[in-house]
């Protein structure tokens, strides 16, 4: 791996996780909100 590519790895790594974690977090939050009805 070239030095330039190696330097870009942490950014690509973070970006990849952000892309999948944002919709996941939104879905989990929606489900938590829905689940609260059980405890009311």
């Amino acid at each position: 791996m070239s030095e330039r590519n190696a330097a870009g790895q942490p950014i690509a790594l973070a970006l990849g996780w952000v892309i999948v974690l944002i919709p996941t977090a939104w879905g989990v939050w929606q489900t938590i909100v829905k689940s609260l009805a059980l405890f009311r």
């Binding site: 791996m1 996941t24 939104w26 609260l36 009805a37 059980l38 405890f39």
Partner: protein, 454 residues
């Protein structure tokens, strides 16, 4: 064709020093997309009003007819995972993920045409058949790649991806409702338009996985920085490889098939009936809204269990993890009727949350169990064959729960007690699973692959 050359396996080999943690997001992108299938039920009511819009009109599809779309998709998931597993091992994950994205996204587009033209066969062909094939190929495509990247933590790695399948419905359900609200007009339920939007969204999201997935170079092993000590080094040592054709001839494959089938049967029937069950077992205590909250909580347990149990299996071993599923599941299922009669809602919810976490955990731990038994050489193809157990359980679980309940009610049992027999039957099934797990031994050397792994 040149334009598809980037899909070749050779083009996906990671360069030296590539950070393996860049691979799980690619797998998650695919599994979060195809996990949408578990949220298909949000379309049931709007589809049954497709012509009448506000209320069903003459010629509108019945709910039982629409139910076939989900069933056909799940059947094609199992069939395509079994049929395309060997092809996936040959062509690599990128081409397989691309095919899955085309089929799954394309399935929505064909399905949308079926809804717009009110042709049920076209909806069935699109979402059920084409989409189902996309589900099967998509489900197995990242599994062997992740196992090869994380030989020291195969349970955690596959658990991460398969957790996405559990989480996909959590995204798809509210997203679909919002899309239908957006596209709804006095003359349209907005389902066809939502299908087009979802097809495009999922195709693009899956393409992120296609572009970013990488396979490790032959002979690659984790560096000392990414593993932790001598204990991990022992776990990295791969077991003897078994080819898919040989694997299905071993008793280990069929024991695992039985274990997955029984673990899924015990969970899937409850998952489909959770809302009605909690309302009937606690009449006057649990409202419709609270029951929906219960379903949401079970989805969270299902998703969390996929990651937690599969990660734990890297520490305590696959056999001990499955023994826990079956032993604890038996105890919990046997206890649920008494807890219901005692009126203890909190304990009832807790029991089911643990049961559903083990249901998800079973799915997520099985690829690593296969790797322990059959090695990494064709683990994706073997996993594909094993998923026929899921299709079988998908029929067996709901049938057991629904028919036993109806049988009991027909024989004068109160609705609140109608599920007791079902729970005891589920506990019995899990005892069989426990015995199957106990009988698991290493694969006989005569099944081991003699040549060099491709």
């Amino acid at each position: 064709m040149m334009m598809f050359a980037f899909l070749d396996r050779g083009r996906t080999i990671a360069p030296l020093g590539y950070d393996r943690w860049r691979v799980p997001p690619a797998a998650l992108a695919v599994h979060l997309s195809i996990g949408q299938v578990y949220a298909f039920s949000v379309f049931n009511i709007p589809l049954s009003h497709a012509l009448g819009v506000a209320t069903p009109a003459a010629g509108d599809w019945s709910l039982s007819t629409i139910g076939w779309v989900f069933s056909v998709a799940i059947v094609f998931l199992g069939v395509s995972a079994a049929l395309f597993g060997s092809w996936l091992e040959r062509v690599g994950p990128r081409r397989a993920m691309f095919t899955a994205a085309l089929c799954f996204g394309g399935g929505f587009f064909v399905g949308a045409a079926g809804i717009a033209l009110h042709q049920f066969w076209l909806l069935l062909l699109g979402y059920g058949v084409l989409g189902g094939i996309g589900l099967g190929i998509g489900y197995i495509s990242p599994v062997s790649t992740l196992i090869k990247w994380f030989p020291d933590r195969p349970g955690m790695a596959t658990g991460l991806a398969i957790m996405g399948f559990g989480g996909g419905a959590m995204i798809a359900s509210p997203l679909s409702v919002r899309l239908m609200e957006h596209f709804r007009t006095p003359t349209s339920t907005g389902v066809a338009e939502s299908f087009i939007a979802l097809g495009a969204i999922y195709f693009v999201f899956m393409m992120f996985g296609v572009v970013t997935v990488r396979v490790p170079a032959p002979g690659w092993t984790p560096t000392r920085h990414s593993t932790s000590g001598a204990a991990t080094a022992a776990r990295v040592a791969a077991p003897n490889d078994v080819a898919v054709g040989q694997a299905v001839r071993t008793p280990q494959f069929w024991l695992l098939w039985i274990m997955l089938c029984l673990n899924v049967t015990a969970g899937i029937g409850v998952l489909g009936q959770a809302s009605a069950m909690i309302q009937e077992m606690f009449p006057g205590v649990i409202s419709v809204g609270a029951a929906a909250g219960f379903v949401g909580l079970l989805s969270l347990a299902n998703m969390g269990g996929r990651f937690a149990w599969s990660s734990l299996s890297d520490v305590i071993g696959r056999r001990a993890t499955y023994a826990t599923f079956f032993a604890l599941g038996t105890v919990l299922y046997a206890a649920v009727p008494s807890i219901g009669r005692a009126g203890n809602v909190a304990l009832f919810v807790l029991c089911y949350a643990v049961i559903l976490s083990m249901y998800g955990g079973g799915f997520a731990t099985i690829p690593a169990y296969l790797r322990d038994m059959f090695g990494t050489m064709q683990v994706g193809a073997i996993h594909g064959r094993l998923l026929t157990a899921w299709s079988t359980a998908g029929v067996l679980g709901p049938v057991l729960v629904n028919y036993l309940r109806e049988y009991r009610i027909a024989h004068g049992v109160a609705k609140a007690d109608a599920y007791s027999l079902t729970m005891y039957v589920m506990a019995g099934l899990l005892v069989v699973g426990f015995v199957a797990n106990l009988r698991m031994r290493p694969v006989d050397a005569r099944f081991h692959h003699q040549g060099v792994a491709p």
